[in-house]
Point group: C2
Chain length 426, copies 2
């Protein structure tokens, strides 16, 4: 019988892949803690209706949905923000503001397979709710930069490309785009880098209903220098707000990581203000992270008016970039100590008990075999230290230790084993 | 609009519930590491056929299954062991033995709701593959005890109730149960504590096809003293194997936690040898953990013959027992330090940057407000230390610190802030 395969777009995490995943998660968590965020989580599936109105058409098409045995329509979560908004809406005004939450959810999207995509993947989510001021936006942009630098990236590897839905709206309205064409326009803009230039022109003209407007919009999109925007459109409130954000980010020391990019729109329907995406400098990969302000979502879910800003960073593209830069962690040790027994397993069990009771990770051969094979097991376990028990030394009340790195051997009294192991593992 | 509810049988993990979950997971992981296990994971859903033949009827009825957009039948994982067996089968002989793996999967079963049950829950799984010897069984029973003692339980709180499928099989065959009735008999036995005594008698008689056999089986099930079994059935290989296991467990120091319980069967179809379940001593709750030997599963999935033993412990019943004993962790701090700013947020940002760069968790008010309100925020964040920046002290090149526990205040030079915060947080 052939072995059943895992579903397409999912991953088996053997210990070597799991160690990489854990390394990324631990680094993310450390960043969140030093930025003053606390962890939360929501169910892995939700009622389908949580997604069908608020997430936007693209995500809806990718839902893994199903009827449970009670006939209720459910969907595996494709993103965490709707669950977050639902949870905040549920607690309403009893929840102390600001909410500063992070989570590392497993998510599911039925996408076409390509580089940097999986149908099952993980994200870091960081969100601040209850703050309308742009310090919250700055705090989150600074945090997303910190997640990257904590993993070992620097300003030559990535940047945060920032824009604002308000800015786009004010510029487009001034250029003559009708209010009711804005949503279609954002949809077209978000797909810009996913299609050839000609196809994009056509999509843009369709979204706007006329070629002349499309040309004006293209002209605006060419303004890649924020100081040009300041000069020409400095009277617009969204321009001033973005300028304030850049000033705050400078106080955070983030200027080397920041770029203004008017073309950043974000595909999700619920964004209302600042939007940003993190890309590798070469732009050879999909976005590593993306986020922005979504001030209306909590109230759309039936909660009180709650300004909110957040971002999500995925694990798949990030892993590829870490591999490129050579900062993936190396193989991990399973047991710091391996106990080789000469003779009965009895002494090995007793020795393991002493070490484990002291919190030291160790193992021993679970079947009787020669010393050579046991040493091979020690090697496979990545042990730094081997303790030899039994044999002549046991009769003398001693144990032999071998440092697997240096090859150095030494003999200590059995009663001093724990102390000796501790000092050698330091 | 009413807020959409989470699906029945799932849980929202607000930070206070998440802290409890993380406390349990961290403790589990610590136990696994000191026992020499490495972490792995598999997809959250698998092809449906992975479960429809090997898991047993009860789990099959509880599957969340669905067709993906390509029309392939999938199911959310109700347990991790089939994925584990599939992964080991896939790598075949290239995987170094023994495999010593643990995982903390999120699992899904559409069960009727009652105390200690959720439709979405977590488990710790620990497994050893590649070892037929009973030292592996002992290692895992010792490990499940250690997961409990590491969380703060002692021998007065719980016990591991051990039996053996081989023992039952040999006893039942000797009593005259036909080989082809064994599976039905195990099914009946596993439901014993879930139905009234009379209903159980009837189920048993049905499973066996005659009343007299049912009486013999009941007689065997009354042998709760292993020394009685040794006296009467000491010639059976399964009795000698179980005796050896108890001796090994004594070397591990586990005797105070162990009980022989002939009625332990385990519902899953794939067990072949030792079986065990962890219960609270009062038996007021469902099993906290359960496991055993499943030597045929990897080969059933198309892999090489691979002896295996493992267990799973759930988070829901465990959480209830921790609550009863009063060993749930208390509220957690979000930020060790809260920065109160008198005047502009500028200095608060700069101060946060210094502390965060040094790895110290901190936050500050993201909108301008009075000192009183900022102190309330510090309280909500659970901060141990408040740093006051700005105002008179700033003009003198100083900052004021307040210990939120003792109420003690002190003033230090701005340049010495980091050092002062570090020493006060120790």
């Amino acid at each position: 019988m052939p072995v059943i395969a895992p579903p397409k777009g999912t991953r088996d995490f053997y210990p070597e892949e799991m160690a990489i995943r854990e390394h990324i998660f631990a680094s993310w968590e450390k960043t969140c803690r030093r930025y003053g965020f606390e962890k939360f989580d929501a169910p892995a599936f939700e009622q389908l209706e949580l997604y069908t109105q608020k997430s936007g058409e693209e995500i809806e098409k990718q839902l893994y949905s199903f009827a449970d045995k009670g006939g209720r329509m459910m969907a595996l979560r494709p993103e965490l923000t709707p669950s977050l908004a639902r949870m905040v809406a549920t607690r309403g005004n009893s929840l102390k503001k600001p909410v500063r939450w992070f989570s590392i959810p497993r998510l599911f999207r039925y996408e076409r397979m390509q580089r940097g995509r999986q149908r099952e993947f993980f994200q870091l989510n960081m969100d601040i709710l209850g703050i309308a001021e742009s310090v919250a936006d700055a705090e989150l942009v600074a945090a997303v930069v910190a997640t990257m630098t904590d993993l070992g990236f620097d300003a030559s590897d990535f940047s945060v490309r920032i824009s604002s839905r308000n800015l786009l709206e004010q510029l487009f309205l001034r250029a003559g785009v009708p209010q009711d064409r804005l949503a279609a326009l954002y949809g077209a803009l978000d797909k810009r880098h996913k299609m050839p230039a000609e196809a994009f022109m056509q999509t843009l003209a369709n979204a706007l209903g006329e070629q002349k407007l499309a040309d004006s919009v293209l002209g605006l999109l060419e303004m890649q220098d924020f100081s040009d925007i300041m000069r020409t459109y400095g009277d617009l409130s969204a321009v001033r707000a973005l300028d304030e954000l850049f000033e705050l980010l400078d106080l955070y020391g983030m200027t080397p990581f920041i770029e203004f990019d008017i073309s950043i729109v974000r595909g999700l329907a619920y964004y209302t203000g600042t939007v940003f995406e993190v890309f590798d400098r070469k732009r050879s990969l999909r976005a590593i992270a993306g986020g922005g302000r979504y001030d209306r979502l909590v109230s759309l879910y039936g909660g009180p008016d709650t300004p909110a800003v957040g971002f999500a960073a995925g694990d798949v593209v990030l892993g590829e970039l870490m591999k490129e830069k050579g900062i993936l962690p190396g193989p991990q040790s399973r047991s710091a100590v391996f106990i080789v027994s000469i003779g009965s397993v009895k002494t090995a069990i007793e020795t393991a008990r002493i070490l484990r009771d002291a919190g030291i990770g160790c193992e021993f051969s679970l079947k009787s075999t020669g010393v050579g094979k046991q040493l091979k097991q020690a090697d496979a376990a990545g042990s730094r230290l081997v303790v030899f028990v039994g044999g002549e030394e046991e009769q003398r009340g001693e144990v032999k230790l071998k440092d697997m790195g240096t090859g150095n051997e030494s003999t200590v009294a059995s009663a001093e084993l724990l102390e000796a192991v501790r000092s050698r593992l330091q």
